[in-house]
Assembly symmetry: D2
């Protein structure tokens, strides 16, 4: 795996403060369970309000936590004064997203001044041993965006 | 645009019943505002619980309603006894997803016995005139899946 | 459809000169059959050297002309002194890519200073009436890149 | 990494015979340099006929060998009598695709009876140490398709 040098020594407090402002992550019950330069894991427990029609986590939940994990992995490497926006992503849903818990592991593949490409893998099922989804994300660093 | 012949004369009640079972769409406040063979529009009003860190709709909300709109557009063309699962999707976020309302327009591009390719476009901002996102979705028809 | 104002009055000669330097397009036998601000169509005739194992155009040919059509649609809107690079793309292959000819229609969906999102649709079969593929592309404007 | 059990004891000769029929891979000068169940590597040397306008490998070349590597990784796990078609793919171009050689490593992530999800990573530059591209591919198993 890659190892990255953060350009902001305060990256940790900045990432956590921004994540705390994502009301939608509160709605999903997501919490940040790992943070390192270029790496963020988010986890969410199963609840009825997140279900699709067959009783699994909705694909939108899976992709939402995958997206935020990737976005904060990217933000952890941005210099101070730059915020993060998702430009695009693609996700393959490999197995039904079953509880009791989903964990999304966002990792930076290619950091850049303007664009940052990340991968995010989501695991679920018993002991989070099932590979539920894998995705690729392009994140944009936007100067002056308050993150 | 394409015009499609549904293989299930009861497609409308089947699609609406399945949508009503997606608890996550209730969580998002999404409602089905258009349904025709191969076409579904979903709309969701802005609320604080759907925000990302800059105050816009979270990209996960945008992609979730885009995904469900595409999935139900596909399901409307499936024969009785087949359910729908998202296999994969890709979405480009074109403009910040601002309220007061998002509308996702799911359309079938290529129906098939096993796979159905759809496009979904999301609009927001004043009078829903801003093109917020565009995505491509592959939906799978699964026999015996209760939809 | 959108209509765009080019930022370079000489966009046409610049796009054609750059296309002429893409040796790989010569290898494919691709020619530019339409050029307007934000719009480029490329066409390629079937030949044995472009086949996959079942005798159709290889998916790589379909995606290559879709990519170049999208890239030159983007370049047509860039200011002088900026070159174009593909950042990422996604393509769905809707029908077998049969000859006698493929035509790829690249269109700008969202122009931007740094990023330009495009769609590209490829048609083939008799009278190019079959929708062979549809894709979404993110193009980057890079200053100082000689295009 | 995953390890897979092939369902066709003759998978190796079948994969190599199909690859030999892909005229487009001959056009690119691609050769198969690794084959194991669920794993195929393809390599192509730089030549002028594969260039884009700045002198690098064209993105279409990168994605073409990534696609064939993924497709043959999938085919290696199919039962006899099933051929392979690319349903869709997405690729992020991480660094300029420089020679002297590109190598694409296709790996099966999720095998299935009908769909097979693969990843393909492409490396180039000195000693193929630069990560040029990463992509996700959905391959379809089609019965009766002669591969």
């Amino acid at each position: 795996m890659n190892s990255f040098e953060p350009r902001d020594p305060d990256f940790e407090s900045r990432v956590r403060a921004s994540f705390a402002r994502q009301d939608f992550m509160v709605t999903l019950g997501a919490e940040m369970v790992h943070l390192a330069p270029g790496e963020v894991d988010l986890a969410a427990d199963f609840k009825e309000s997140l279900r699709q029609q067959h009783g699994f986590f909705h694909a939108g939940v899976t992709s939402s936590i995958a997206d935020s994990a990737a976005g904060y992995a990217a933000l952890s490497l941005f210099p101070p004064g730059f915020g993060v926006l998702t430009s695009e992503f693609k996700i393959n849903l490999l197995n039904p997203a079953m509880g009791p818990r989903l964990i999304a592991k966002g990792r930076v593949l290619k950091p850049g001044k303007l664009l940052c490409v990340c991968r995010s893998d989501v695991y679920g099922g018993a002991e989070c041993a099932t590979h539920v989804a894998t995705g690729l994300f392009t994140m944009v660093a936007r100067e002056g965006l308050d993150d």
